[in-house]
Amino acid sequence: MDNILNEIGIENYIFLAVILFSIGVCGVLYRRNAIIVFMSIEIMLNAVNLLFVAFSTYHQDTQGQIFVFFSMAVAAAEVAVGLAILVSIFKNMGTISIDKLKNLKG
């Protein structure tokens, strides 16, 4: 395992994660479809998860990988709630575009 890390170097993992993360961020910024925004957020989380794994290998310690399970579980719970909200929104408004969510402002 570690030889791979030695060849690739931890920095690149970080860069990859950052890039993925940024993609996620951009997704949140630019997409207006709630589902896709969810997915972008998932991308962010998974980018982090990836980094976690990389770090745990890097440090030769399992905590990181365990943490990934935590975060995945949490993400799942989050999405569940999110989707529930989304459903009720769709029921009430017949759309899932977050641009329509502008009743509260000022």
């Binding site: 931890i10 980094l51 745990s56 943490f67 719970a77 709630v81 999110g82 989304l86 009743n103 509260l104």
Partner: protein, 456 residues
Amino acid sequence: MSTLIAIIGLGILCLLLEIFDFRKAIIPISIIGLLAVLGLNISEFNSPEAYYNNMIIVSKFSTSFSALFIVLTIFLVALSHKFHENNQAHISDFIAIKLFLLAGAVAMVSFGNLAMFFLGIEVLSIALYVLASSDRKSIKSNEAGMKYFLMGSFASGIILFGICLIYGAMGTFDITEISELSYSAELPVWFPIGIILVFIGMLFKIAAVPFHFWAPDVYEGSPALTTALMSTLAKVVAIATLFKLLTAMNAEISAEFQTVIVIVSMASMTVGNIMALRQVNVKRMLAFSGVSHAGFMLMTLLITTNAAGTLLYYSSSYALAGIAAFSVILYVCYNKNNEDINNFHGLGKTNPLLAAILTGALLSMAGIPIFAGFFAKLFLFNQTIQAGYISLVIVAVINSIISIGYYFKLILAMYNKEPNEVRTATPFVIYAVAVIAIVLNIALGFFPSLVLDLLA
């Protein structure tokens, strides 16, 4: 530790009671239970200890704050009955969620490990998402929930990233180890970046400028009781956690970091107050006032002596005032579709007591003497000047002047306008909560040392 377990147990008990169809009993039992938990928690006060190889660390800090959270939860649970009158079917869910939320809160102030911290914050957040959108039929509520959810999970992503970087730098999630390592000379740059990311994530949770935009919308949209919860419990939890994070994890805060804090705090106060001036919706107004108070509380990150005590004092005074205010708001805006200021017209005539209580709460938030709010500000200013941030204090002072503008707008509405409705019977529980909250607030004002010296 046992506090945390007890709370979760209580939450489960609520669900069970629902199953066994003791719906009536749920609220009383959970209140009694919470009181018991409170006692339990206090009993732990003088026995700091670490559990599950430092997953949970019970300290004076954690217990005292947990106590505050529990008290607030008691109030909120008490208010639930009236609030969910028409929705008794799901009463157990609401209560249970609140209790689990409390569990998350307690975990957040007593974590000894970033994993615990993350779990805590997520438990809290998810519970809040649910509560925010709990009024399924109302578009506003949905929107609020959605907004909160999207931005909240975005923030969690940031926090998670931060944690990850910290882990990457330190190779551990354990707070104590991290802080030991943080003294060592050679630190990878990821560590401070990680700290900053977590910091920013938390700034979002306490709704500090420029991460505050969600607050007013969500506060306005959510059901009033949830707003109460957010503006009191959630805010206090977040600031306490942030405080613990920054103090526990890295040794000294660099000068630049301090400037960042100063700027954010100034910005939060100013923006919050100025924006609040022109609000007509009371919940919205209080949201902005909450933003400004977040700015005030951030000052505690800068001060050196007895910062924790000051923070505890400030947050308790703020939260108690908030509870008192919201219980009145709940009464006034009960089965109204909005919380606009004109609902309060003539409250001074129709219901003098509640009007007086609301006035007291607002005066406390505005920092007028004998209310705890004043002393909170006083101690804060005192120590901030001691730490040498006089300019920050000046800004704070100017802001407190501005804040009078909108707090008194509400008071004026209550006393100077003619009532536009007949007075309705006031449920006992609202009186009880409001009175107790404001009395506690004033008591804090008379005997600040009680709270102030807990963490000295």
